[in-house]
């Protein structure tokens, strides 16, 4: 039997349907589809895929288990390295990580590793919902309390590991619900909240104490947390400070940071206004600035809120877009209008202070910069205006400074990111950090890896093996 050169397709909602709803776009593999896709893996001896994955999941191992229909073993293998496979299977930039190095990709398409990961994780969630899963064993109670700040992927995975090691874990979250970006940022049509909630319910079952509405740095400081009896602290507070371009008119009404726009819609459910109380402008002609996942999510959300035109304005070309390839394709299929090599220079408003136009410049690509990406250069005299009634700025975020500003001796980097060594240890004894707060905006899987790495270090710290 010859092996398929192309990946087994995953069924999706059709573009003309899905652009009107918030339901998930890719629908998942059936068992048969998963078995076909699993059989494409060559079980290579060199296993390059494993090194492509930031947390080094034993990929051929779990795929083999799927192929042999040992689903229980498959999920166990994944769980050794990845606590949120239902999430990472959906949102990892696979085409730059595990799949880019897959041997099958040399003469065709790589194995759909992310899709198989999602399949098996969804199978596991179904099982869990039916109560068919026993909780993992916890070690003997250690009589020590650890605080975890933030409940994004970094905090969640750190908390799970610590509680399994026998520590008492209290998680402090500033918002009224857990999940971090998984909850307030990534939209429902890409990551259903039911999945995130299921993962969080798991945390509760394990006995992690969750405290909400608690902004560390303001409600209490790190120092005060130590005084109240915590032996070590993990900071996973994310990169939540939105950047603006500081161009004229950027504070007009109708102009949002992507964080505000997505938080209103996802966390506060503004798309259900007025049943829910938080309002959002339903723009008809919307400009989204940026080319990453956050920009794609904002553009596709604006479309689903009823926009007639959504312009995605990005200063480089399509190749340089940092977004996941699948999201770029989905956005194009749904009718997002890409204005590439274009950069906004100012916004123009009406007498009520509401945005009406954005003026842009055309760009061309120059030499490669340090990141290897070619630098965009403005083309003189190429100004043009677009009529809009809403703009969403998605040009990046910096770490939130509140904790750094209120913690004596906590070393930070140039953009306010908290400094941590390879063990996740910060410059303050007993304080560990990981995820976007350390790296700047990155990915779910790297944040998760950092959380788990810090949990191991915290154990060593408590035992006196780390100084």
């Amino acid at each position: 039997m010859s092996i398929n050169k192309i990946q087994t397709r995953m069924k999706e909602q059709l573009p003309e349907e899905r652009r009107k709803n918030f339901s998930e776009v890719p629908l998942g593999y059936t068992k048969e589809e998963a078995l076909i896709e699993a059989s494409r893996c060559l079980q290579c001896l060199t296993r390059p895929c494993i090194n492509g994955c930031p947390v080094q999941i034993n990929i051929p191992g779990f795929i083999k288990a799927i192929k042999e229909e040992n689903f229980e073993i498959a999920i166990e293998i994944i769980h050794e390295s990845d606590l949120l496979p239902a999430v990472t299977g959906r949102v990892c930039p696979q085409e730059e990580q595990c799949q880019v190095v897959c041997i099958m990709g040399k003469a065709g398409e790589p194995v759909g590793i992310g899709r198989l990961e999602r399949f098996i994780a969804d199978w596991d969630l179904e099982r869990r919902k039916k109560g068919e899963v026993r909780l993992p064993k916890k070690a003997e109670p250690r009589g020590k309390k650890i605080a975890v700040i933030g409940s994004g992927p970094a905090g969640l995975s750190c908390a799970v590991d610590l509680i399994k090691m026998g520590y008492e874990v209290t998680m402090f979250e500033a918002f009224h619900t857990s999940g971090g970006v998984l909850t307030y940022g990534i939209p429902e049509f890409r990551l259903p909240k039911a999945i995130v909630n299921e993962e969080i319910a798991f945390l509760d079952k394990l006995g992690v104490k969750r405290i909400f509405d608690y902004l560390v740095g303001r409600t209490s400081t790190i120092e005060e947390l130590f005084k109240s009896g915590f032996s070590a602290i993990f900071i996973g507070s994310g990169a939540g400070l939105p950047q603006f371009m500081h161009i004229p008119g950027e504070n007009l009404g109708g102009i949002y940071s992507a964080n505000e726009f997505l938080t209103r819609v996802n966390l506060m459910k503004a798309y259900k206004f007025p049943d829910y109380d938080t309002p959002i402008k339903h723009g008809k002609r919307v400009a989204v600035i940026g080319g990453g996942n956050v920009a794609m999510d904002s553009a596709r959300t604006a479309l689903r809120l009823g926009a007639e035109h959504v312009y995605l304005i990005y200063r480089r070309s399509r190749e340089e877009m940092p977004a996941r390839l699948e999201e770029v394709i989905h956005a194009e299929e749904e009718g997002i209008e890409f204005l590439l090599l274009t950069n906004p220079v100012r916004y123009i408003g009406n007498e009520n202070g509401l945005v009406q136009q954005v003026e842009c410049l055309k760009m061309k690509l120059g030499e490669g910069d340090v990141s290897g990406r070619r630098r965009p250069i403005p083309i003189e005299g190429s100004e043009f205006k677009i009529d809009i009634d809403q703009a969403i700025v998605a040009v990046g975020t910096n770490p939130n400074p509140i904790i750094a500003l209120t913690t004596k001796g906590l070393k930070t980097g140039r953009h306010g990111e908290i400094w941590a060594d390879e063990n996740g240890q910060t410059s303050v004894p007993g304080v560990f950090a990981g995820g976007d707060i350390v790296t700047g905006a990155a990915t779910v899987i790297t944040a998760m890896g950092a959380g788990r790495n810090a949990a191991k270090s915290i154990e060593r710290y408590i035992k006196g093996e780390l100084t």
């Binding site: 303001r218 209490s220 603006f244 505000e260």
Partner: protein, 277 residues
């Protein structure tokens, strides 16, 4: 859940609530605020902490019924709870021994100015307080304010109590008879804070305004609250809420406050309908 320990009507549509919020009470300082969400479908709204009791773990908020959320909040009774109270948020008001200072509260703004007045006094300042209300029935916390101020001056728009006119009418007189005012603090409607700031600018008296931008997160991660201060974009919740009034762009602040006018009306009309049923 955060329990409402006490509720009191201070005047028409002006409500005081004491809320059980031990973590907030423990660390709050004058000038800081909380973000409140009344129920699961509720909006997050900022309210200044008007008083606090660290020992009993409670804070006091005073609010004016304006739209849906403040009406919804007022529908809650003593003993009931609201789902979220986050804080204390924002920076504390910078209070030192300045000498002679003026504190100006307009309407509901009298409540948040109170803890500032009290702390200023405890630091040995001579505090002249000027408070303004629409009419006599709106006057509240007169005794409390009098107790903490060296001098309390009251204005009502219709002249039914105190002096007839605006706080700025009184401020003009205070400024001309006192040449040694070191600092002015003002909390109230945007137009009032702007007018105050215009009066003190020429005299070069440093003036601090506590801004009331629309907010979502209250912790610096959304940018909903951005304002122009000295030509730069600032986040009211994280960089403020206190700013040097002389360089605040009050006009753009006022415009941003009106962005959701239509939606607020829809929300409020729905609320009134549901109340009738």
């Amino acid at each position: 859940m955060f329990k409402i320990l006490k509720k009191e009507e201070l005047g028409p549509g002006m409500i005081l609530m004491e809320i059980e919020a031990p973590y907030v009470a423990k660390s709050v300082e004058p000038g800081q605020f909380v973000i409140v969400r009344v129920d699961e479908k509720g909006e997050r709204i900022p309210l200044t902490i008007a008083d606090f009791d660290r020992e009993f773990g409670k804070i006091t908020i005073v609010f004016q019924e304006i739209g849906k959320t403040t009406h919804l909040l007022n529908s809650k009774k003593e003993g009931e709870s609201i789902v979220d109270v986050v804080g204390p948020l924002g920076n504390k008001t910078e209070i030192e021994s300045f000498g002679k200072v003026v504190c100006i509260g307009g309407g509901i703004g009298v409540a948040p100015i109170f803890p500032i007045v009290r702390k200023l006094k405890s630091k040995g300042n001579e505090v002249i307080s000027i408070v303004g209300y629409r009419s006599k029935s709106y006057v509240f916390w007169e005794e409390k304010m009098k107790r903490e101020s060296s001098n309390l001056l009251i204005a009502t728009n219709d002249g039914t109590y105190g002096e007839k006119g605006f706080v700025t009418d009184i401020l003009k007189k205070v400024l001309s008879s006192n040449s040694d005012i070191r600092r002015v603090f003002t909390i109230g409607p945007v137009v009032m804070m702007k007018a105050v700031s215009d009066l003190t600018r020429d005299r070069k008296i440093k003036t601090i305004a506590s801004l009331n931008s629309l907010m979502v997160c209250g912790m610096g991660m959304c940018g909903a609250c951005r304002v122009m201060v000295g030509g730069e974009t600032k986040f009211t919740c994280a960089d403020g809420p206190d700013f040097d009034a002389h360089v605040v762009d009050f006009d753009s602040l006022a415009k941003r406050l009106a962005v959701y006018k239509e939606e607020e009306k829809v929300s409020f009309d729905n609320w009134k309908e549901s109340e009738k049923v």
